[in-house]
Symmetry: C5
Subunit: 157 residues, 5 copies
Amino acid sequence: TLGSINTQGLKGDFLRSPSGGAAGPLLTPSQSLDGSRRSGYITIGYRGSYTIGRDAQADAKFRRVARITVCGKTSLAKEVFGDTLNESRDPDRPPERYTSRYYLKFNFLEQAFDKLSESGFHMVACSSTGTCAFASSTDQSEDKIWTSYTEYVFCRE
Amino acid sequence: TLGSINTQGLKGDFLRSPSGGAAGPLLTPSQSLDGSRRSGYITIGYRGSYTIGRDAQADAKFRRVARITVCGKTSLAKEVFGDTLNESRDPDRPPERYTSRYYLKFNFLEQAFDKLSESGFHMVACSSTGTCAFASSTDQSEDKIWTSYTEYVFCRE
Amino acid sequence: TLGSINTQGLKGDFLRSPSGGAAGPLLTPSQSLDGSRRSGYITIGYRGSYTIGRDAQADAKFRRVARITVCGKTSLAKEVFGDTLNESRDPDRPPERYTSRYYLKFNFLEQAFDKLSESGFHMVACSSTGTCAFASSTDQSEDKIWTSYTEYVFCRE
Amino acid sequence: TLGSINTQGLKGDFLRSPSGGAAGPLLTPSQSLDGSRRSGYITIGYRGSYTIGRDAQADAKFRRVARITVCGKTSLAKEVFGDTLNESRDPDRPPERYTSRYYLKFNFLEQAFDKLSESGFHMVACSSTGTCAFASSTDQSEDKIWTSYTEYVFCRE
Amino acid sequence: TLGSINTQGLKGDFLRSPSGGAAGPLLTPSQSLDGSRRSGYITIGYRGSYTIGRDAQADAKFRRVARITVCGKTSLAKEVFGDTLNESRDPDRPPERYTSRYYLKFNFLEQAFDKLSESGFHMVACSSTGTCAFASSTDQSEDKIWTSYTEYVFCRE
């Protein structure tokens, strides 16, 4: 998207070396061009699904992440995730508005954490909720499925 | 409300520039007029609802926030959220009293986080509980619904 | 109770101004008379109840706190909460013993947080568990009820 | 046990006053004799049980802790908890090995927290899971019971 | 594996004493050879299982960890866990790629925490979800089983 391309260009061309690399420690990628640090919160979330059944113990039961969602101010999300951000579910959102309908083009949570860390964010909290959805009683051969929603709150001060 | 208008005016007119902008770093919006910092806790919460069904995997399952509740001392809540605070469920509450019945006029959690951050609060913890409410057994075509309650605790020291 | 009255007097009369207000920053309310800081943990908890039913979406679903419990060393609990502490369920407990059966005379969590903060404690973690208790199947008109237990751990170092 | 007695003696006789009280701030109880700090993690856990029934609202529902378990390196657990540690479920474990089968002889979580704090550990996180176990459908007079598992992670750096 | 052997050699031979022990405080094991610190997130998780039944209260109910999973950048996971890392479920993964299918050859969580701490990581958050899987209704003598998924997020800055 144009937004993410602009943000990427802003980070690479202007912020990191505004005058030939003499930026110094005062102008990091987490700062805006006029020197004022754009603080804020970004929340990363995903819905996990697990199968509980006969072979549940036999399998390693690794974490499965279907989609990583991004919530927060749109300008911050674009700055952090650039062209790895999918904005198709909330397009043309003004930079100062908030969204809870962005998601990422990759599915590794730690990759999202690392990108947030590179932009000056740190994790402040995470929480998780779980529930179970039983299979229909007419088909008892089916394994039970339960899902969870986990979110990680990041902050840049 | 009058309370939030006063608080807003207080922040904008007195605290940020009490003597023509020469306030310096010692008089931030998180301080009272007499220079004593008003410390305290504010808790933000919401009840999330999710649908578990046949097309659960097909949809992106973004976070849905119906209402953001605010708990804490009324004067702190008014200072932070100003006229974005809905006090209709606990009106005419004295400033030094506590409430758990305020809520916000917007539904983006990160917007609430950012407002708290601007007022000098930082998130110290969050927790989440989940449960499931099955649809009635006579109507098996209906999807199952489960809800959660998540809260975020903020502190200003 | 005598214990809480004594503690309150201790804080107000001796600790805050042991020699006419010249205590300085080294003798805060979180210190004992001999200058040794009494460190420790206090845990605040409550059981929340929620109703899931037809009008669940219609109501604002504010947090309902029936009773705030206090766990930890009795002397610390008395120092922090004073005469707002109900010791009737664990009376005559020696100061150096631990209890998990004190509770508060008020029901606002943030009021408890603020009192802990004023005594030098800060929140280090919180956790929450949830479950659901279905209504009996013979009375399907009744709404479902679920409860949770949430606790907040505070520490003074 | 011999292990915990040795550890206790070590703390009291050698570490706290290796040369007549002139240890200085560099030799705290959280350090070993050769001056190298023994860092590490210890996890405290318990399974809580709650009853959901007709008189659930009538009772105060205080936290009930049946047994506090200790997980981590055996030498660290012995150093912190001394003779209040029950090693009967994992006896004769070498000091550098790990265990998840120690438990405490007392049932107050905050007492365990305080002991950990005295040895230089601080809580870094806690988490909790809950579930419910329904009573058998043939006996509907029985109250429902649910259990939870909560753990508190401590670290010494 | 070759990757973990190389990483281990790197840590032991080069980083800790690159020029005869004169490394100084600027070249810790958490730094790469060219002096740039490799920051990042690693998530540790496990699925716990518990049995709820007649003798549930009789047993001590210690934590049971079947398998500790590792998520994050493959190079970081190899650096921290070396040859205690099982990469068989995601072999031949390039160093800069992410994985969620590594697991450890040991089953003590605190051992994993300590290894992460030795490499400069600290725990920033943990979360836990729980659910229950009922036994089949035709066999009511069977105890109920429930499982949980708990994860611990570590960061190196």
